[in-house]
């Protein structure tokens, strides 16, 4: 019975159906299933499957995004229950993410935020055109493990370096890992400005983020 429910949960993520995912989450609570287990054994395998299929070229960005929406809907139901039971959802780490100042490109950054969130991170998405100080302040406030910055223009890409310097000035650099991304960003650029991680796509970003937090 529980196995069947878990399979249905995974399927709701693969189908990208937030309504079904939320409904299954409620069912799990009614059945007295540990909400953490519902997330990890029910919904997460669905996310993993979508990620793998995307990497193989069998699924596409709309599948990723809708899987993310379904996952969020499930977590929105399950998280209060976890808190009510006196527990806490174990996250892999806390990420502060945004598109740098002067740049209003949203899609890539939001996709990475979504995938990090469904991949097990607590994500604070600061949106677009984010001032340098906002990155720093938010990172301090939430005790971020990772700061992620997106830039889609070569002209705004340099802001990524400014944020890293500001993190240093604020004495935070040693405590946070920095990830950069966006169309003009290359591995070489990431190295040049002293970022810790870089990925070609949203699925890769999750892998990089996991690596960064496990490396401590």
């Amino acid at each position: 019975m529980t196995d069947e429910l878990f399979r249905a949960m995974a399927q709701s993520i693969i189908d990208g159906d937030p309504d079904v995912a939320a409904e299954l989450a409620r069912k799990a609570i009614e059945a007295g299933i540990d909400p953490l287990e519902a997330i990890n054994k029910g919904f997460v395998p669905g996310v993993d499957s979508v990620g793998e299929q995307y990497s193989r070229g069998e699924m596409f960005l709309p599948d990723l995004v809708l899987a993310g929406e379904a996952m969020k809907a499930a977590i929105a139901v399950l998280e209060p229950e976890i808190t009510r039971q006196g527990g806490q959802r174990q996250t892999l780490g806390t990420v502060v993410i945004g598109t740098v100042e002067g740049d209003i490109h949203d899609i890539g950054k939001t996709l990475v935020a979504t995938m990090l969130s469904v991949g097990g991170f607590r994500v604070y998405d600061l949106g677009v055109d984010v001032p340098i100080t906002t990155f720093v302040e938010k990172a301090r406030e939430v005790n971020a493990d990772i700061v992620g910055m997106s830039a889609l223009l070569t002209t705004t890409m340099v802001r990524q370096r400014d944020v890293i310097e500001a993190l240093e000035d604020a004495g935070l650099r040693s405590r946070v890992k920095v990830m950069v991304g966006g169309a003009p960003v290359t591995r070489a650029w990431a190295q040049e400005i002293g970022a810790d991680g870089y990925s070609e796509d949203a699925i890769g970003a999750v892998a990089v983020a996991k690596q960064l937090v496990s490396a401590g």
Binding site: F60, P62, D63, T186, R187, E200
Partner: protein, 495 residues
């Protein structure tokens, strides 16, 4: 709405047909087969036996046109109708009868052999853009006497798709009908559900050779679809003007239809061709020229005005390697042929004036064909409101990626190319070793060959086919058929 390219006004089509009929009646057609002359003579044509010239009145041709089927289907080996000859249906198949293969490693144009044909057939089998196979290259190591039926044999072994093929002699044509009949369940069943169409060629200008005419008659009587491949060469073996060549094409094809329908009224026949302009600098026959494509669309329009199924040769290139010229000539002409609403467009994979086939080019051409077919689907209405519903709850955020309808409809709206077309980022391209189109095509061919599985074949039918071809091969002086083929299998496995 299927988008269309038309080059001739209705008046001009009438004018073309008028001149073609006039040519048939007054200039005459050389018909080098005695029975064909007799058929035409009995129907009312004036025959000059000494010169083998037949003067065909319009009425004789008009009667023949009345009995030609407006459409017919080609079936795959599982008995399913997969190619519709008729109307504005558009299909593509690889170009046929190449004598060379482009070696993907050395870039040498070397004489093609069985393993090359096997490789081409496997690749084409894996690509849905090709509705049919062709007997894509001749196998140079096989005696010419059985070259045609041997090619068909190889295609039948490795493919379930219908085949665009052709015979090299009257005798072998009958063997080929018998080979196909094994899978159709008999000659009558083959006529009901044809698995192949046979190219049959007039010789420009206005000549039906003994074999060409014989072939028309035999195909008609077997009721196996015939595909006339008239090939005026504008400025050399045909008038220099595009319209002059279209008139010659019409006259050759109309006389072919007359012979064919007199032999067997109601037998299926296709208004096809492979014309080209004549290159005045090099004396070559450029298949990738825009004017070649224009002649094709124009003659197809003439055929359509008569309600006939159509065919042409486009999507080929005259380049010697798979380069930018190959891409642009093949892509442009594939799109033009598609817009012409031509039922079967042969030529993909071809380089060097149809002399050289390339599996790597075949996978690139498949992408051009995918796009051409997408173009034909046109701009469609998928939703009740065109955009209004999708704007509900969007505000001013670019969040359309989150809408279920996006996921549901993007595969219908967008043709999804294979990795042959690079739509990734420059970083991904750099990190994968900066592959150019040809390198990506080579990788794709390797991938397709690895994934290829031979379509299932009834063991009794396979035994019958092998026995028959083996007997013919031994007669033709081959030591054994098995050796050639086993080699084929082995070499094909190594790519």
């Amino acid at each position: 709405m299927q988008p269309k390219l038309e080059l001739l006004t209705p008046d001009l089509i009438d004018h073309v047909l008028g001149e073609a009929f006039y040519l048939l009646e007054t200039h005459g057609v050389k018909v080098q087969d005695a029975e064909a002359r007799q058929l035409l003579g009995e129907a009312g044509a004036r025959v000059d036996e000494a010169n083998e010239v037949v003067y065909i009145p319009e009425a004789v041709v008009r009667r023949a046109l009345e009995t030609v089927p407006r459409e017919f289907y080609l079936y795959n080996r599982f008995g399913e109708p997969v190619v519709r000859y008729g109307g504005d249906a558009v299909h593509f198949d690889p170009g046929s009868s190449g004598v060379h293969i482009l070696d993907p490693e050395t870039l040498e144009h070397r004489p093609s052999q069985t393993p090359d044909l096997v490789r081409l057939v496997k690749v084409a089998e894996m690509l849905p853009q090709y509705a049919a196979q062709s007997t894509a290259v001749v196998c140079n190591e096989v005696p010419k006497a059985i070259g045609d039926l041997y090619r068909l044999y190889i295609v039948l072994l490795y493919s379930a798709k219908p085949v665009v093929t052709g015979a090299f002699s009257a005798q072998t044509a009958h063997y080929m009908f018998d080979m196909l009949a094994i899978f159709a369940g008999g000659r009558e069943e083959l006529a009901q559900k044809p698995l192949a169409v046979f190219d049959v060629c007039p010789s420009p200008p206005l000549i039906w050779s003994e074999f060409g005419a014989r072939n028309l008659i035999d195909l008609a009587r077997a009721r196996v679809p015939a595909q006339m491949v008239s090939m005026p060469l504008a400025g050399a073996t045909a008038p220099v003007t595009l319209l002059g060549s279209v008139v010659q094409h019409a006259a050759e094809s109309l006389s072919g239809i007359a012979i064919h329908q007199l032999a067997q009224p109601g037998a299926p026949i296709v208004w096809g061709g492979a014309p080209a302009i004549f290159d005045m600098r090099h004396g070559t026959t450029p298949m990738g020229a825009i004017e070649t494509a224009m002649i094709d669309v124009a003659y197809a329009q003439v055929g359509k005005s008569l309600g006939l199924p159509t065919h042409t040769y486009l999507g080929a290139s005259d380049a010697k390697v798979v380069d930018a010229q190959a891409g642009l000539e093949s892509g442009i002409t594939a799109v033009i042929g598609a817009l012409g609403g031509i039922n079967m467009i042969s030529g993909a994979g071809m380089l060097d004036f149809l002399a050289c086939q390339s599996a790597e080019k075949l996978v690139i051409d498949a992408e051009a064909i995918g796009m051409a077919l997408r173009l034909l689907e046109g701009v469609r209405v998928h939703t009740d409101t065109l955009a209004l519903e999708m704007f509900e709850s969007i505000g001013f955020r670019g969040d359309f990626l989150k809408q279920k309808i996006t996921r549901q409809l993007f595969p219908k709206e967008q043709y999804l190319p294979s990795a042959v077309l690079d739509r990734g980022s420059i970083r991904a391209w750099e990190e994968s070793g900066r592959p150019d189109t040809f390198a990506r095509a080579k990788a794709r061919v390797r991938e397709l060959l690895a994934a290829y599985q031979r379509p299932p074949m009834d063991p009794d039918q396979e035994r019958e086919l092998r026995k028959m071809v083996e007997r013919l091969a031994l007669q033709a002086g081959m030591d054994t058929l098995q050796t050639a083929e086993r080699n084929a299998g082995r070499q094909a496995c190594t790519g």
